[in-house]
Amino acid sequence: MSLGKLLERILQLLPVLLGVSLIVFAMMALTPGDPVQIMIGDQSVTPEQEAALRRDLGLDRPIHERFFLFVTDAVRGDFGESFYHRRPVADVIAERLPATIELSLVALIVALATAIPLGVLAAIRKNSVLDRLATVGSLLGVSLPGFWFGILLMMLFAVHLQILPVSGRIGYSSEIVPITGFLLVDTLLRGNLSAFWDALSHIILPAITLGLPMTAILMRVTRTSMLEVLRQDYVTFAEAKGLSRRRVLFRHALKNALIPTVSVAAIETGSLLGGNMIVETVFGWPGLGRLVVESIFLRNYPLVQAAVLFYAVTYVLLNFAADLLYTALNPRVKL
């Protein structure tokens, strides 16, 4: 894709991002209740102090100015101060972000690693027992409420069988000095194998729960796509050439069959962002999702606002990347 076209597409993103910011801003600006009152809480303050606070927060300005400030501040990474933590919101979010990203990534990997082989096998052995089981599993996967499934897993593995921990990210006994913030990576980098297993055993249940709907969808997409590809003339022609089964499968069929899978995966990754609020709450995972939920109850609006904006922007960028990916993978779609 030429640079010009790429820039053009990026430019098309901007109005969307702006619109998203507008909505997030509107959400918070229209929240009933006075933020200043909430901040003051039960303390007694003089009217002058209250006015000063209002000025500080910029709440005395007209609304369009506030929006402008909101956007410009956001771009610079300034989201104000968290009521609850008494620290810049951006810092609080940055602190909890790696946990969420790590969980999402592991969920994604689990989903892909399960869905693709299952989907391919289901297509090759169409209507076999495996295929039917996969179809049922896929249906269950999109019908199971994530929070319930997580609790069930917890009950089975943590409480009943006691082979996996109940919650949290890592046991108290493991001491790690973070490098990247990704525990799985850090423990390996430090050669601390027992800590690695500890971290892994903590992440596995939440990751499976988070990745379940995605696995179900991807399996179906892969299966359908594979079936479609196997019917194509070029697969028959490849067989007519006398190529080995493996070669026909991997070189001809799979390459083309996986294109829809990858695109859908890229798009669905965005939905992982929503899902991790639930999963983090269920498993007590110290990530951004749980932070957002807690903040809502604490009425910590600056943080909620920043987090929602962050999620939305990430989602838009992910979809954009998915678009690019699809174009790049498809040799016939030229831009």
């Binding site: 070029y234 067989e239 190529l243």
Partner: protein, 331 residues
Amino acid sequence: MSQPLLDVRGLRTVFETRAGTVCAVDGVDVSVQRGECLGIVGESGSGKSVTFASVMGLVKSPGRIEAGTILLDGCDLRGLTPKQMRAVRGKDIAMTMQDALTALNPALTVGEQIAEVFDAHDDTLPRRGAARARAIRDKSAEMLGLVGIPSAESRLRQYPHEFSGGMRQRIMIAIALACRPKLLIADEPTTALDVTIQAQVLELITEIRARLGMSVVLITHDLGVVAEHCDRVMVMYAGQVVEEGPTAEVIAQPQHPYTRGLLASIPRPALRGQPIQPIEGQVPDLIGLPPQCRFYSRCPLHRDACLAPVAMRSAGPNRRVRCILSGEPVE
């Protein structure tokens, strides 16, 4: 007569569908001599493509070969293991398909797709490494050149969609002929092309055939193509062979009413001014066919005696026809 290169007897291929069992190929005998070009003519549903898909072992569920022997150079193809059959495909028998655009993998370069054939079948190549890659590349370029694609070396790196329709067809032929097969099955090689390209492609096939001494089966619904390029012709209808013989004879004196109908429905300069006569009616449903002449409902000459199964009859040396009104029964 020397032993035919391809000898198919009593081939029966069926497809299980929800509506019933479709008998796509019913008791078909085909033989192809070395170096000859056999034309297979029939409309859609006649079983012409399925016959040769069966020969190649490419019939997949819900279809299966129910009966018949398939001998290639005396070797029983049906008795081969899948692995052995894969060694035959692409090397001894090769096939081209109707639409080169869909037959070529859009995600692989042309060079890769030719190279695969060499990689799978050519034992004369260096074992591995850069020498092997280079040898394959050279041979691939040579094949492209053989089919008349200029600047072959550089074009190996291009994708199928970067070529024109006629060139894609040539590429497909190049792939099929890479390992110098004994038999080429060309399934509707000209249907997807316009007239001028059609002629070029057919010329190419004829020329290579002469050079390599290869046998060719031309599957088509176009009698004109058959008339020009095929030594013998076989006419198929509703899963059966209804007439076969040397092309010139069959066209000059068709024995089966269907063949006559086909010839009569072709516009020809000699018949200018006269209305074209299509064959009335439709091909019968292939599910649950009654045991009678399948052309009965459309035949202008049908009579009660046709309501029984009709076997192939001899209508001269090398001529056979499936109609009680012609020829003599074969013992």
